[in-house]
Amino acid sequence: MNNIMSGAQIVVEALLEQKVDTVFGYPGGAVLPIYDEIFKQSKIKHVLVRHEQGAIHAAEGYSRSTGKPGVALVTSGPGATNSVTGLTDALMDSIPIIVLTGQVPTFMIGNDAFQEADTVGITRPCTKHNWLVKDTNILGKTIHEAFYVSTNGRPGPVLVDIPKDVQFASGSYLKKTDFTPKRYKPKTKPNSDLIFKAVKAFENAKNPIIYSGGGVINSGDNASKLLRELVHESDFPITSTLMGLGCYPASKKNWMGMLGMHGTYEANMAMHDCDFMFCIGARFDDRITGKTDEFSPNSTKIHIDIDPSSINKNILVDIGIVGDIKTTLQAFLKLWRKRGSKSSMSKSWWKTIQGWRAVNCLKYNKSKSSIKPQYALQRLEELTKNTDRYVTTEVGQHQMWAAQFMGFEEPKRWMTSGGLGTMGYGFPASIGVQLAHPKSLVINVAGEASWLMNMQELGTAVQYNLPVKQFILNNERLGMVRQWQELLHGGRYSHSWSDALPDFVKLAEAYGIKGICCSDPNKLDDAILEMINYDGPVIFDCLVEKHENCFPMIPSGKAHNEMILSAEEPEQEIGKSGAVLV
C-alpha cells in the first residue's frame, strides 16, 4: 500500500529511497515546506551554498567524482533562473544531476506572482527533461522518474518544479520499488553485426588511434577497465578529450596526451594521419576536430556512443554503434579475442609517433625570475601526483595547462567544464567533490578572473570546514581572451584585464582561512607544500607571468596538421573565416 504524506515529506522520502546523502541548496519562500522536512531529519545532509549557481556546480562536482547523481534544491523565480547556467553546463557535459525547484502555488501560476518564473519553460532547452508537478499524488513517481531519466542512457540534468501548494497537500507516495519506467528505454546493447564489422576494421588497421572521451567515464569504472585491456592487448596509441582524462592512465606508454585545440602535437598529428580511428564515448566536438572537412581525411572511423544523435552529427563515420560503452567494449573484446586478437598495426606507426613526440610540444621558456604558469602546474603535479587527489578547474588558459601538465591515472579524478566552458565552475565543483570525499586532497586549479565569478562560495567552504585548495594562477588578465586578442585582434586588449583585483591573502583572512601568495619560482615548492599540508581551506595566490600564451594550438579554421607550436613560429595568419569561429 502507498503511504499518504505531504508533498514535502514525499520529496524527502523519495530522496532517501534514492540513497541521496547530500543536497546542495538555498532556501526561499516557495520551498519552505521542503526545508521544514529537511530540518526534521538527519539522514540527508543539506549544504547551504551562497548562490544557486554554486549549488548546481557543487552537485556536478559531487556527481562527477562519485558516479552518483548530484542533487540541488532551490526556490522559485530567481532561485530557478540562477540555476540555468549550471543546468546547461551539466547538459553539455552529460552530468547526471537532479534539481528540485519550488514554484508559486498552482492557482497563482501565470499571474506574475511574487518570485514566479516559467521555470519549466526556461529550463526546457537546458535539461534532459523537466516536469512541473501539479498533483501531490504523482510527485513521488515523478521524482523517481527524474532519477531514472537523469542516470539512464546519456546522463544529463533534470529538473522537477514543485508548486508550494503541492508541497503542503497530502497525497499517496509511490515507492521506488513500485516505479517502473514506461516510456524512456534507451538502447544500451550494441548491434552484433556492427560489432563484427568494427572488429574486422580494427584487425585491418595499420595506423590506428583510439580517441576516447567522457562517455567512458560516464559508463562506469568497468568501461575504463575494458578500455585499458583493449589498449594493452592491441598496443594501439590512445588519446582522449578534455572530458575523458583519467579513463586511461597518463603514465602508460600508449598515452598520447589530450587532443584538440590545445592538445598535444603527437595526438593531433596521429588523428590526422591515422587510417583507423576508434572513437569511444566522444562526440567530435569542434574543439577536437578543427576544420571538419580536413579532419582525419584518410581514416576508417568507428564511433561508439549511447546517444544516436551524436553519431554522424559533426563527422560522418563508417561504422556508428549505438550502445553503452561498457556493454559494447565487452562485446567487442569478446569477439576480437575469439578471433585470435589479431592486429595489422604497421611497425613504423609507433616510430612515426615517436618522431612527433620528439617535437616536445609542451616545452616553454623557463624563467628564473618569474613563475611560468606551466611551471607552477608542473610543480603542483609533481608534489601531489602520488596522493589521493581530485582536481577541478575553472575555464581558460589555466584549464588547458592543467590538462596538459597534470596526469590522471583513474577516472572521476578530473572535474572540468568542457562543453559549456563555464567560468566560475571550479570553486563550487571543488566543494561538491570535497563533500563526497572528505579525506581526499581537492585542488581547484583556477585563474583569478574565473575564480572571482563564484568566490561567494568561500562562505560555504568555511561553514562546512571543507579543506579545498584554491590554486589560483593569477596573471591579472583574462588569459585566454587576451591570447586571442593578441593572435586575432592585433594585440588590442579590449577589456581583458582587471584593474581592481583583491588581495587574495587578505580575502582569505577575512573569511578566517589561510591565504598564501607566491611570486618567486624558488619558493614555489615550499609554498605548495604549505598549501597541501594545511588542514583547512586555502587560497593560493600564485602570481604568474602575465602574457604567457597557451601552446600548442590549432588556430580556428585550421586542420590538425596546422598546429602552432610556439609564439616564435613565423606568424600564421588566421583568415577571416577562422576569425569568426570561437
Binding site: G121, R124, P125, H129, V149, R183, Y184, N312, K313
Partner: protein, 185 residues
C-alpha cells in the same frame, strides 16, 4: 513504355535508404511523431526545431489516442540528408516521444491537407470560381451574395494550385490545416 526518371534514393518504394549523406541538396520530409499528450510537449518539439535551426514547413498536432493520451505530430521539414537524419535522432531521444516515422523514406504514404478559401467575386468571376471549385471537387461551405467560402481537401500541391487560380477571381482569405499523413497499407 515510358522512360522513368528516378533519381537515386528518391523512389519512395526503395527498401533501402539510398540517399547520399554528403549530399547538400535540400529535401522535403514528412515526419510523423507519436508523443505523450502532456503539458509542454509541443513546446519541446518546436523548441528543438527553433533551438537547433531546423525548418518547419508545416505542422499539425492533435490527440489521436484518448485512452493512451497519445498525440500525433506531423511535421513537414526540409534540409540536407544529414540534417534530416539529425532531426530524427534528436526527436527520438526526447523523453515523451514514442515513435518517429519518416514517411518520405519509409515506403509510400498519403498526405492530405484541408483548406478554407474565402472568395469575393461578382458576375462572371463568381460563376468561374464555382466552376473551378467543381473541377477541384471543392465544397461550398458558406455563401453570401458577394462571396463564397470553399472547403478543399487534397495534397498541399493541389491546395496551392487552387489558391493560384482563385487569386485573380477575388481570393481574400485562406486558412490551411497543415499536412496530415499516413503510410500506405
Amino acid at each position: 513504355m515510358q522512360k522513368l526518371f528516378l533519381k537515386k534514393g528518391v523512389s519512395k518504394k526503395s527498401a533501402y535508404n539510398l540517399r547520399n549523406p554528403k549530399d547538400d541538396k535540400f529535401e522535403r520530409h514528412t515526419l510523423a511523431i507519436l508523443v505523450d499528450n502532456e503539458a509542454g510537449v509541443l513546446a519541446r518539439v518546436i523548441g528543438l526545431f527553433s533551438g537547433r535551426g531546423y525548418n518547419i514547413d508545416s505542422l499539425t498536432v492533435a490527440e489521436v489516442d484518448h485512452t493512451g493520451n497519445l498525440s500525433r505530430i506531423t511535421i513537414v521539414t526540409s534540409g540536407t540528408p544529414s540534417v534530416i537524419e539529425q532531426i530524427k535522432a534528436q526527436l527520438e531521444r526526447m523523453i515523451p516521444v514514442h515513435d518517429v516515422h519518416d514517411l518520405t523514406t519509409e515506403g509510400a504514404s498519403v498526405e492530405r491537407e484541408l483548406a478554407l478559401f474565402k472568395v469575393f467575386a461578382k458576375g462572371e468571376k463568381r460563376v468561374e470560381s464555382l466552376r473551378l471549385a467543381d473541377v477541384f471537387r471543392a465544397k461550398v461551405v458558406d455563401s453570401t451574395l458577394v462571396s463564397f467560402t470553399f472547403e478543399l481537401t487534397g495534397t498541399p500541391e493541389k491546395i496551392d494550385a487552387f489558391a493560384d487560380l482563385m487569386v485573380p477571381l477575388g481570393l481574400e482569405e485562406i486558412a490551411r490545416t497543415g499536412v496530415a499523413a499516413l503510410s500506405r497499407g
